[in-house]
Symmetry: C2
Subunit: 414 residues, 2 copies
Amino acid sequence: MGKAGLPVSPLAPARFPDLPVIAGVDFASAAAGIKYQGRSDVTLIRIAPGSTVAGAFTRSSTRAACILDNQAKLAQGGDAPDGAAILINSGNANAFTGARGQASVDAVCAAVAEALDLPQGRVFTSSTGVIGEPLPHERIVAITGDLARGLDAGGVADAARAIMTTDTFPKGASATLADGTRIVGIAKGSGMIAPDMATMLVYLFTDAAVPAGVLQQALSSGLDTTFNAITVDSDTSTSDALILAATGQGAGAPITDLDSPAGRDFVTALHGVMRDLAHQVVRDGEGATKFVEIAVTGATDDADAHRVAMAIANSPLVKTAIAGQDANWGRIVAAVGKSGAQADRDRLRIAFGDMVVARDGWRDPDYDEAAASAYMQGQELRISVHLGLGQGARTVWTCDLTHGYIDINADYRS
Amino acid sequence: MGKAGLPVSPLAPARFPDLPVIAGVDFASAAAGIKYQGRSDVTLIRIAPGSTVAGAFTRSSTRAACILDNQAKLAQGGDAPDGAAILINSGNANAFTGARGQASVDAVCAAVAEALDLPQGRVFTSSTGVIGEPLPHERIVAITGDLARGLDAGGVADAARAIMTTDTFPKGASATLADGTRIVGIAKGSGMIAPDMATMLVYLFTDAAVPAGVLQQALSSGLDTTFNAITVDSDTSTSDALILAATGQGAGAPITDLDSPAGRDFVTALHGVMRDLAHQVVRDGEGATKFVEIAVTGATDDADAHRVAMAIANSPLVKTAIAGQDANWGRIVAAVGKSGAQADRDRLRIAFGDMVVARDGWRDPDYDEAAASAYMQGQELRISVHLGLGQGARTVWTCDLTHGYIDINADYRS
């Protein structure tokens, strides 16, 4: 069973991966009793002096207080000559809490800054859970000293568990480059956080030495093909956050140019870890029974390919057909049509796995409904759409829409 | 039970309304055996010489052949000096059927034109049902003569039934103005058409005398607040169509200026009929148990208000919370935030019915969860969001997202 009492997703990895230690990053988790009982719900992460920090945050216009605070701090630059820290709590999102929200953020940041002897401007926070309830920040402040004393380079797996809300499994991924550079990430997110919303939190750490501006560029350039390429139900949280820290304490030479061989290797590995975590979030999609890759090619440009892929991935009709193991390519055609992207009905080619089901504006002459239905029984599906117009391409990932989703979101709080 | 064997929606009107006869419009329906057995599936509508015709069609880029044909014909103008006709079949959408699709449309139009002695350019068609299957148009052609002989001014109720697919009740509405002018409409649509998609078809008739350009303007000006203001599941069909015909055979004086008193009365009545039919489509939303009005005010402009209202109406999180009778205003805040519209978290006011639940960036101090939960038990709900920024306003209508929706769309075809 997951932390919230839900059964573990059938799409979960077999086990939490062994994650390497990142020199210069320490973790501590503990129970503050914010909402959940009998489990850790607060994590403190300390990042060594001389590190750099980058971030990406929700575009919601009703962002939570901690998001606005993180953005303001990162706008001052990503250098952390004296070190930095991240404090994450689950159980309460501190969102839509009026002026009190920022006061809670300030109180937590001040406590962490004092405990770790850091400038308050280098303390970042995340809150996830119920919204519209005041954050009992005093419970976090009360255990800050204990957390600081418990910091440990091996605490990453505990942290991955402490940040869970309705997640049914903890999410972690890593990569080690040929030069010894290490990248580690943890994430939470599973569609939505009962009883409120779909917060996704991601923390990435590397021992590479990367100037702050370059680090931000490495992070930003990977978003569109990883975390912005997944959807469970099209809902965006007020609190989505991704923070990446680079300590420079690893074996690799400093990376100052992402177009250098070392820079390219780093970016490829970083984006691989990001994609792995993004896929894990989809695999924990509420009620999900199938992991679906939707690959769009032949679009006028990449943006149009993304539009088409997301229209398919977010279509309740497509998602329920997949849940019903129905090779319903007509719903794909309809989703392409409504996407707003340039498309020509008579050039479309649609395939399920390797099986072409439609081409040139009509069902493929060799289409075999029995074979297509057999394919749809699988747990891992790939739907390809070729628009036949240009070179634009984009792949996104989603899951099916099942009775389990309704159960969790309609029935959970009551 | 509805035609497709589904139970009648709990939100259905008590009975089909008595619709007045429109002088100059005749209906005939019959069984062609296109897909369904033991029921009418083809309707022929004859519109008298001297009428004018207007239309509105899906914006999908994968439009069905009949849609492209209707649009091309209306692009030549809306006058019908020799009369016009509409032929509608259910059971097959003739969508994504390649070049054969247009050939089927041509065959049907030629047969109707011959049977009614009309120019083929004034014969409009609609097809709704399964997509990607060739339309057996010869079955329609074979009964065209019978249909022509059976035309009757009183056949509108039968027509409302013949065009149903997964609809669980036939949809009709009417208005009679003080000067005796009559407006009648029928519609079909219920989310989606099993096993394929969400086609909505609407046919409106009036005995008013209205020049074609003015008629089109009267129709177009009402779309944003009626049929474009409803959503069951955000999916748009390849085949949505609305046709309005004015025969000029009624008691009223010709309407040449929509800003005249008579013009304004006509537009108000027409839009009222359109809104009534639009609401009936939502009330037949697949699996719907609640009819929900979402009223957004205080937006920067009407377009932003529409964006916010639709983001709320299409949010699976909001729709499942409503199904669960959960007064989950946090999900409303999140939907506002993701809408892309201008919004200020600290100016938002959210109400369920007359109950203000949140204001000024936080839960209302007088918020009473028990009272809010009691309100959510109702079958007809109103959610109001005031953005506090400007004068933009828009109201949309939707339904909840239930296990019934998954049943119909995941399990129906298998």
